[in-house]
């Protein structure tokens, strides 16, 4: 018995040495607690996502190539209301190419931690045409988009997409301060109407999404405290706090 405890301790100790715990309350038709936890292992990390009615356990691995690139990959299994679910994903870049791929299935969406419903996939590719130019291609269930980004101090993006009908993509991203503060704006107009923005100041970040037909969210991160409010069929709010160790 003592030997078993020692083994358990040896297994758990490295896992507990570094990690993250994010606890929150999601308010929409009642108050629902949310919990996300991640433990760093010698290679990769194991994470847990829990909310009433659904839970997921996943592994996130990575292959670091120093200054040349990084490739992250992972898989996730879920249990809960409606039945089993799962996801596999791959993201990263090496040299001139970056990619993000995700494939998941769950019988029904469960906000806020498990938002996609049914069989859902996303593929994003970005290729560096020259030091200042990046071409992007994005494919999601029911939507495809192609973009061209040019960096000349700030980065401007122009693109077009199709989602039942065509739409235009315009983007701006640039530094707005001396310490690497960033403003990032993306506007989609046409069949998709959405304005997304982010102001990243380091210790504080402000993010918003506004779309038509009317829906949207406003998120403020102050250090490890996250405050989000929005409209998703009905008004909602989500308060989160993250602890990180060591």
């Amino acid at each position: 018995m003592r030997g078993g405890c020692a083994w358990l301790w040896l297994l758990l100790f490295p896992a507990l040495a570094q990690g993250r715990l994010e606890a929150g309350a999601y308010l929409q038709n009642g108050v629902h607690p949310t919990l996300e936890a991640a433990w760093t292992l010698e290679e990769g990390e194991v994470y847990l996502r829990l909310q009433p009615g659904r839970g997921g356990l996943g592994y996130l691995g990575g292959l670091a190539l120093g200054p040349l690139g990084y490739l992250g990959y992972g898989l996730q299994g879920e249990v809960g209301k409606g039945g089993l679910g799962g996801a596999v994903f791959l993201e990263g870049g090496a040299g001139p190419l970056a990619l993000e791929g995700r494939l998941s299935y769950r019988p029904q969406a469960a906000f806020p931690l498990f938002p996609e419903e049914g069989l859902w996939g996303r593929l994003a590719l970005r290729y560096r045409l020259s030091p200042k130019e990046v071409a992007g291609f994005f494919l999601e269930r029911g939507r495809a988009e192609a973009t061209y980004a040019l960096r000349d101090g700030a980065t401007g993006t122009l693109g077009a997409g199709v989602a039942e009908g065509p739409y235009l993509v315009l983007g701006f991203k640039g530094e707005v301060g001396e310490e690497g503060e960033v403003l990032d704006l993306a506007l989609r107009l046409g069949r998709v109407n959405r304005l997304e923005g982010g102001l990243y100041l380091g210790e504080a970040s402000l993010l918003f999404i506004l779309s038509y037909p009317w829906a949207g969210s406003l998120t403020l991160w102050l250090g490890d405290l996250g405050l989000e409010a929005g409209l998703r069929q009905s008004p909602y709010a989500w308060v989160r706090y993250a602890w990180r160790w060591p």
């Binding site: 670091a64 120093g66 990084y70 970056a98």
Partner: protein
């Protein structure tokens, strides 16, 4: 005849070993204050030899180095920061900042460690260096140091040239076990600079930080 030669060698060996230590001391003293330079040359990329150009910034007293890549085109915008405890790799295309403990970090993705340009002591820990004479370079007379790595550093041998008049490294040649050149890099546009730790640690605040 052999015996006097051996005696001479035994007599000179500690003197030469001492010289490497002296050279490292001189470089350390000469590069104690913040400086910046450009590293230019070729390195062995995944698809063959590639041109490399990078700006290097150093605050040696803080054990802080930053290398900003300008060439090859696929690395432009990427940078590496080396602190006393960590190595940060910023990847422009994915907007990610990968932070690893210094002992775990794979800075050898290029076949050599960018840290070498600013911290010869760290290089000397990875490779046992010996003095192999002097050579006249365009920059002036330089000591030539040869080294063999002690572990898996991404290269097996290093050839290093240190300027005598202004003790600082001016050329690095990294080779693999078979003697194939992995990197041939010159340090140019060297100058003393007013640098701050926050400037060297600067990164886009919207970057996704990944701790490994």
């Amino acid at each position: 005849m052999r015996l006097p030669l051996l005696t001479l060698f035994l007599f000179l060996a500690p003197a030469l070993a001492q010289s490497v230590e002296e050279i490292l001391d001189r470089v350390e003293k000469n590069l104690a204050e913040p400086w910046q330079a450009v590293v230019r040359g070729t390195f062995q990329g995944p698809s063959g030899p590639e041109e490399l150009e990078a700006r290097v910034y150093a605050i040696p007293k803080e054990d802080l180095f930053r290398m900003e890549f300008l060439k090859p085109a696929s690395l432009e915008g990427n940078f590496t920061v080396i602190t006393a405890k960590e190595v940060w790799n910023y990847l422009y295309l994915t907007n990610q900042l990968l932070i690893s403990p210094r002992e775990k970090a794979q800075v050898q993705g290029l076949g050599f460690s960018p840290q070498a340009f600013g911290d010869l002591r760290a290089l000397a820990k990875e490779a046992s260096l010996r003095l192999a004479g002097e050579e006249r370079l365009p920059e002036g007379v330089a000591w030539k140091l040869l080294g063999q790595t002690r572990g898996n550093q991404g290269f097996a041998q290093v050839e290093l040239y240190v300027l005598k008049a202004d003790p600082r490294p001016v050329r690095f040649l990294f080779r693999d076990e078979g003697g194939r050149v992995l990197g041939d890099l010159r340090v140019v546009a060297f100058q003393r600079a007013r640098l701050t730790p926050s400037a060297l640690k600067r990164y886009p605040k919207d970057a996704q930080v990944v701790r490994r």
